[in-house]
Symmetry: C2
Subunit: 150 residues, 2 copies
């Protein structure tokens, strides 16, 4: 999804769900479902009808990885977690306590890191990767629909 937003930041005009679905090898309805979260959070806008589609409401430098993560409702960071969040057994409570301490520290660090990186930073990283390609590769990539920087 980050992927799509960055592509959108480099395009003129809106991106249709149809086109986005083709890019990601999925279905337009799936795109709409997912983008709905980003629209509700105010990062993108959707327009119906001729010439419609999805577009950003702000620059790539105004959206962090954390923003996107939250807007997509992906609040579960870890695959681990307490089996029972409020157990009666004191042993279980002690287990949860230790586990949660560790998880919260790691989660806090991850969220800080995600908040540090804007989509513009990722786009700049793309530019570096593109510039590192040989001229032939650059041409091939451009023909494959991957726009060159600028």
């Amino acid at each position: 999804m980050l992927h799509l937003l960055i592509h959108m930041g480099r395009m003129e005009g809106p991106l249709t769900s149809e086109a986005a679905a083709t890019m990601l090898g999925t279905n337009p309805v799936v795109i709409r479902r997912t983008m709905a979260g980003l629209r509700d959070a105010g990062y993108v806008r959707s327009v119906k009808g001729h010439g419609g589609g999805w577009s950003l409401t702000r620059g790539l430098d105004g959206i962090t990885m954390l923003d996107v993560h939250r807007a997509l409702g992906e609040n579960r960071i870890f695959a681990l977690g307490p089996a029972d969040p409020d157990p009666v057994c004191l042993v279980e409570r002690a287990v949860n306590g230790s586990l949660e301490d560790a998880l919260q520290e790691a989660e806090a660090l991850l969220l800080r890191r995600l908040a540090d990186v804007t989509l513009a930073d990722i786009a700049a990283d793309f530019d570096r990767r593109f510039a590192a390609l040989s001229p032939e590769d650059r041409t091939a990539r451009a023909h494959a629909g991957q726009l060159p920087p600028g």
Copy 2:
């Protein structure tokens, strides 16, 4: 599962899968499946027949939360992750790069924290919680099958 191991560390004799399943409100076969990982990693041993069951091969201070996590084969720490681990698209590669940087940092921190805590530490935490109970509560808990410390 940590739960069970700590109970085992405070019991005389082995714990049957049947009893463990009752404790966790699940099925003996599920217990056997899960404990198999811990047995293969050498933290517990299983004995068949009369008086058989599961027992620890070492003290609770010889097992960390990380040990258990690894032995259970729970290698997926995060619910997040790259959609395509090796994409052709350079934008996707740039996204993966930024995401992986953040994830790896957080994962490394979490693993350090998990490795820091032994099951004996958790058991000690249990003791503190138990000691903090009123005498009546302590009696009630003991009758409910939750052994007092010592």
